[in-house]
Structure formats: C-alpha cells, structure tokens
Amino acid sequence: MAPEELDPRRDYPLASRRPELIRTPTGKPLDDITIEAVLSGAVTADDLRITPRTLQLQAQIAESTGRRQLGQNLRRAAELTALPDEKVLAVYNALRPRAATKDELLRIADELERDYAATLCARLVREAADVYERRDILAR
C-alpha cells in the first residue's frame, strides 16, 4: 500500500473530505453504512470499528499538525486493533502498580511483539518494566 500523503487543511475530516480512503474492517466504504443497510443486516456492529490503516492516516494528520504524542498514541492504537477486548484489559491491569513482576511484563511485551506485531506497545511495556523496577512498584 503506497503511503498516502495527507494535507490536514485539505483532507480533514477524512469522513467528508477523503471518504474513499476509509473502509470498515469488513471492507465496506463509509457510504455503505446506511439505515437501510443496518436494517437489512448488511451492516453489523463489526463494521463500526476503526481499522489500523485509518488510525495510521489519522496519526499522520496529528503529526503533520505538530501533535507528535497524539500521533504516537494513534499508532499504538493501530497496533491494538488486533487485540481482543479481554486481552486489552488484561495488559492494562498488568500495568497497574504492583500488579505484575518484571518477568511477567517482559513476557507481555514479547507476546505483543510476536503475536500482534505491536512493537510500539511492546516498547511502552518494556519501558514500564524498567521504571517500575527502579521505583519499586513491581509485584513481589
């Protein structure tokens, strides 16, 4: 997929300015999300989710308007679209103070990287493991 060069002034909001770039996770364009489609069952709750690609596009817009951290957050979010809800909550709970050992956190990071290609999230978890150890807030 060729990286799309977006100009925030021209292309945002994507929904109205660049609808052709957006697809639901099942591959439908935004215009297909209509009342009729909902009633006929052609559009289901699975369609009303954001794709990693859309998140990357929004990250690009954030970064090009000078919002580096927001962009990073959206790129981490793009990685997390692959995780089931329970997994997301489990990682969150492990990151709470005194909830996990250093090994457990490092294992989570490895899993994020290996199974979900979530390298940015893995980096965040590894960094937490390091800080938690220094500040003595790992599980004992």
């Binding site: 945002y12 929904a15 957006i22 009303l48 954001i50 957050n73 990682v91 969150y92 103070p97």
Partner: protein, 574 residues
Amino acid sequence: MTIQSAPGHQTPAARPRSRRTELLEQRPVNLDGFVEEWPEVGMVAMDSPYDPKGGIRLENGTVVEMDGKAREDFDFLDRFIADHAIDAAAAVRAMALSPTEIAHLLVDPKVSRQEVLSVSCGLTPARLLEVVRTMNVVEMMMALQKMRARRTPANQAHSTSARDNPVQVAADAAEAGLRGFRELETTLGVVRYAPLVAIALQVGAQSGRPGVLTQCALEEATELELGMRGITGYAETISVYGTEQVFCDGDDTPWSKAFLASAYASRGIKMRFTSGTGSEVQMGNAEGKSMLYLEIRCILVAKGAGVQGLQNGSISCIGVPGAVPAGIRAVLAENLIASTVDLECASGNDQSFSHSDMRRTARLMPQLLPGTDFICSGFSAVPNYDNMFAGSNLDPEDFDDWNVIQRDLQVDGALRHVPEAEILAARDRAARALQGVFAYLGLAPISDKEIEAVTYAHGSKELPPRDVLEDLKSAQSVMDRGITGLDIVKGLDASGFPDVAEALLGVLRQRVSGDLLHTSAILTPELTTLSAVNDANDYAGPGTGYRPSGARWEEMKRLRHVVSARNPEQEVDR
C-alpha cells in the same frame, strides 16, 4: 485559637456587636471555608518557596537533569514527562528564555499560537509554573483566549437522576442538547442501572439535537465496554495525579494510563484524562509542593501519553484551592497550561463551589470570558438533588442568568435561550423515542403517564417511580444479549423516529473514520467534525479570532423577556 464564629453559632460571651457585622455574618459567603497557607505541606496554590527551579540538561537528546533533579533521582512522573512530554529538540532554546519572556509570548496577540507551541513543547514543569507566576488573571485570560485549541467554544452538561430514572435522563439530555451543550455526561446511583441510563442519555441526546456526544462515568472495564458497544460516545473520567504516591493509591501509573488511552483510540473512541489542583494535598501527600506545580505534572503526563485532551480546573477538589489565597487564579492557570501545551481543555466549573452566588459567578468568569473548549465540564442540567456528581457550580436554575450574561458581554458561553414550547416538545419526543426503543428491545416498559410527567417535570421527585426490579432485569439483559448502538438505531427507526436513528448512526459512523480522535473534536448538529485541526484557534488580537456574530449573535440576543421596540406594550416573541 480563636473563638469559632460560624453563623448561627452563638459565642459564649455576650459582647455588644455591630449590627453590620451581624449582617455580614449572615452572608452566604461566610459559609464557605477559608484556610491559611502552609507551604511546607503543599497547602498553597501556586507561590511556594519549596517548588523547584526550572532547568534542564540534555545529553545525546536525553534529559539527564530536570528542574534541579538528576535523572537517577527521577520519580516515575519526572521520568515519563522527561521522556515523553518534553520535546528535547525544542527544550534548549525554550528553556533559555526567561519566565517573563515566555509570559510575554503568551499574552502578546502578535505572537501566534503556533509560535507559542514551538516554545511550550520544550518547557519543564517548574518553568511552566514560573511562567504563570508572572501573570495576573487578566493576562492569563488574554493568553487563554489565544491558546484555546478549538476556535469555537463549547459546553458540557451533567444529566443524572437521583433515582437513575432513564426517562428523566432522556428528557433532560434532549433539553440540554437543545440548549446548546455538545457533550453530556451521566453517572449512576445504582451501578447496575448503567446500561439503561446510558441508552437513555444517547437516545435523549440525539433527539434533542443531532451529534451531541455522550459518556457514562463508571469503573474502567464497564465504561470501556459501553463505549465499545456504541452505547456511549466518549470517555472522560480517566484520572491522573501529581505525585507518585497518590498515583499509585489510585492504582495506576503514567504507563497504564497511556496504554488505556491507546486502547480507547483503537476502538475509535474519543477520550480525555482528568486531573486537578488540590487532590494531592487533600490526601496528605503533596511532598511539600504547591498545588499548581503538581497539577502541571499531571498536564504533562497527559501530554506525554498522547491523549488529545484533559478535564482540569481542580474538579472534585475545588474546595481546597478555593480556600487558599490565589486559589482560583491557580485554577485558571491550570486551564491555561493545558491549552498552552496544545491539549483540549474541559475547564471544570463542574462541582459545588460556593454558597455565594457572587463568588460562583466570579469563579466562572476566567473560563467564560476567554472561552475554553468546554467552559463547564459539567453544567448541571438537573436539579442539585438529582446531580450524582455531588452538585455543580451551575444548576438548571442558572440557565437564564447564563444567557443574560452572554448577551450583556457579547461573550459566547455556547448556550442559548429556547422557548418553552420547543423544550416541552423535545422532552416529550425524547421520552417517546426511549419508550419506542425500550419496547423494541423488550426492556421494561415506559408508560404514557411517565412521559407526560417527565415532559413538565424539573426533577426526579416529580416523576412516578419506576419498577426497579424490572428495570434492573432489563439492564442485565442489555448486557447479556450484547445489545449495541446499532440495535438502538433499529429500535428508533422501528418506532417511528427515523431522524433520531439517522443522527445516532451518524455518531456511530464517526468511530470508523476516527476524525473525533483529534484534539478538541466535537460534532456539529449537521454531524460535521469540528476540531483543532479544521477549526484551529486563529486569535491574533482585536478584530481576529472567534467573536459571536451573525446568526449566532442574533440567537444570543433572545431571552425569556425582552420588551419589543416596535410595540413596547409587548414582549418580543420568545
């Protein structure tokens, strides 16, 4: 110790007393609490000799010393801020400027918002504090007017019910939407009611005016689940704190919160963090730092986490800064700094603050006059006794006062006067739409009598009681059957509210495009996204920036009673 002299308490010795003193004693403001400063323990708003001096030292692009503390001594907030919030590339130049020079950049209309951001992104917490310490409230308001992220101000309301009555929540949500609020927040007395009340808030909001975003404050897992199902539209109550101890007592760290921020975004859901001055000293763990210094650390944690915005302005601890000298100046300063580091700011004014109406209004002016992204992060749209957030600085009884102040000063507080007939119609319609949705989904029925009552009611005491058992069974079945926002859309369409169905589907469609994930995003009634990206604040001095004009100004001129110029015997049609 001095003799206690609260009103109503008689002092034991019957000394002769000034009649004027007696009258002053009876003034509501004397029911508020005031305390002396005690900087050693952090009981001080923003001017403490114990706050660190701003400074930074970098090695190979890494912050190795910040505000007089070496990297190996960093606590986890220092570390997170140094590595994630501060732009190392900008830091050297920015930190070379004096606090006064930076304050001048903030106040001077000729310096653009963008130029300020290129400096503010490199500032440390202590330096940001030093900057606002040089500013008085008028200068801060000048700065806030420019630094607010979104050009157009907006407002948020609380819609709750002491009895968790969904019919009431729907009707009040519709009225609030009609009056101009673009975000609505609810919470529960009985948590098990959450699914029903969240559905009611959503249905009511969309029937009032399309595109109002809704949220339900709950513990993280349930709040996230309601969001993922499309029953709520955004999240806000994600708290951060300014000391390591208090952060840990809240069972979180900057890393866990940063991860949660990404989790919401990964489901296409807008969210912001919450913090505020006073929470640390209230818990007795301020580490001898001023309230504002600790709050600046919270703001920078939010910045570093990459969340688009922050609700701050003391929030639930307002009684603490409210009791010390310059406390309300500090509250303004925290709103200003959130905006100065380019975050959406939902600026408080959302908790019972004072017994005095004069003081309540004065506390509101610093946000209302310059305008913020959300002037109140909770104007109570329900009577005080129905407010499950423990009251707000503004109640529904203040609607008309607010509209008059907007008109007097030609300042946009994002609300408007709505004639009673329109309000009654909207309340009735919202309750009927909810009746239809509940019937379609097979939830506890809503009777015509309830609809009639809620249309004209002020609060839950005037409503017939619900069958709580049936309601709770229904709430459980919403969770068990996996009902989503789409089922509500179907129910609205099936029960004869196709336009409300269309509005809700429009809101749900937003999570596919992710446009709402950007800073300060709201939806207009036409369902267009308005955020700091496409509605960036362009204030550059007199004659520029957002000013109420045209149709909006005409709307603001309308009040409940205005004498007609054409025929002074009559009032202008309301």
